[in-house]
C-alpha cells in the first residue's frame, strides 16, 4: 500500500536536497524507512538518531506509517537562541 506525502526539508537537509519540499508516492512502511530511502537518494549526512520527525505540524514517532495526504518534516538538530 502506498501513500502520497509531502516532505519538507529544512536547514542542511534543504541545502543537500536542493529543494524545500516535494510531493511523491511512498510505499515505505514507516517514517524511519522513508528517511533512509531519502537519505540514500540525496546523501543526507545526518543519521536517523540525530533527527526528529513531525507529521502535519506535530512531533511524530519513527514507527508511524506515512499517512496519505500528510506533510512530513525531518527535523535536524535545532540551533535557535
Amino acid at each position: 500500500m502506498s501513500a502520497r506525502v509531502t516532505v519538507l526539508y529544512f536547514a542542511s537537509l534543504r541545502d543537500v536536497a536542493e529543494i524545500d519540499h516535494e510531493t511523491f508516492e511512498t510505499s515505505a512502511p514507516d517514517l524511519r524507512v522513508l528517511y533512509l530511502e531519502l537519505r540514500a537518494r540525496y546523501g543526507f549526512p545526518l543519521s536517523v538518531d540525530r533527527l526528529r520527525v513531525a507529521v502535519d505540524g506535530e512531533f511524530a514517532r519513527w514507527e508511524d506509517a506515512p499517512r496519505d495526504g500528510s506533510e512530513i518534516a525531518f527535523i535536524p538538530p535545532v540551533s535557535g537562541g
Binding site: 529544512f10 536547514a11 542542511s12 540525530r50 513531525a54 535545532v78 540551533s79 535557535g80 537562541g81
Partner: protein, 146 residues
C-alpha cells in the same frame, strides 16, 4: 493567549516587557541572545535563522506553558527572530515576571534552555573566511558553544 512568537523583523523589547508589568510582580528576569562576532573560535559576520514555523509556534507555546506550571511565576514571554541578522542584533528575548526573584531567574534560564533544545529553529552562520554553515549541535552537553 500567545506567549511565544517568531518575528521576521527586529522587535521592541520595551513593549514586550511592559506586557509583564503587574502589581503582584516583585522580580522580573530577562534574557536576550545577541548575534556575536565569534562562535566556536571562528569570526562570524552575520547569520540567518530559519524556522519550521507551524511546529516552532506550537512547541514554543508548549515550553512557556510548561514554565508557568513548573515555576512560581506570574507570566512569561519569548520572541525569536527569523531571517537575516547582523552582528549585535537581537536574536531571542525571554521575559519572566514573578513575585520573587528565585522563580524569575530559574524560569528564565529554563525557558531559554528549552527553546534552544526543542523549538525547530536553525542557525546559519556566515564566517569571515567566506564560507557558511548550518549549526546542528550534538545532543545536550556536547556543544562547546552555548
Amino acid at each position: 493567549m500567545n506567549r511565544f512568537a517568531l518575528s521576521e523583523t527586529p522587535f521592541d523589547v520595551a513593549a514586550l516587557r511592559a506586557q509583564l508589568l503587574d502589581a503582584r510582580v516583585g522580580g522580573y528576569a530577562s534574557f536576550e541572545g545577541w548575534v556575536r562576532d565569534h562562535n566556536a573560535g571562528r569570526e562570524v559576520t552575520g547569520l540567518r535563522y530559519e524556522a519550521y514555523v507551524t511546529l516552532a509556534e506550537v512547541e514554543g507555546e508548549r515550553v512557556l506553558a510548561e514554565a508557568c506550571e513548573r515555576f512560581a511565576i506570574l507570566d512569561a514571554r519569548c520572541v525569536h527572530r527569523t531571517g537575516d541578522l547582523a552582528i549585535g542584533e537581537l536574536a531571542v528575548w525571554v521575559g519572566v515576571a514573578a513575585a520573587h526573584r528565585d522563580a524569575a531567574f530559574a524560569a528564565c534560564r529554563w525557558i531559554i534552555d528549552e527553546v534552544k533544545q526543542r523549538v525547530p529553529i536553525w542557525k546559519h552562520e556566515r564566517y569571515a573566511q567566506g564560507d557558511a554553515d548550518w549549526l546542528h549541535p550534538a545532543p545536550k552537553g556536547d556543544d562547546p558553544a552555548d
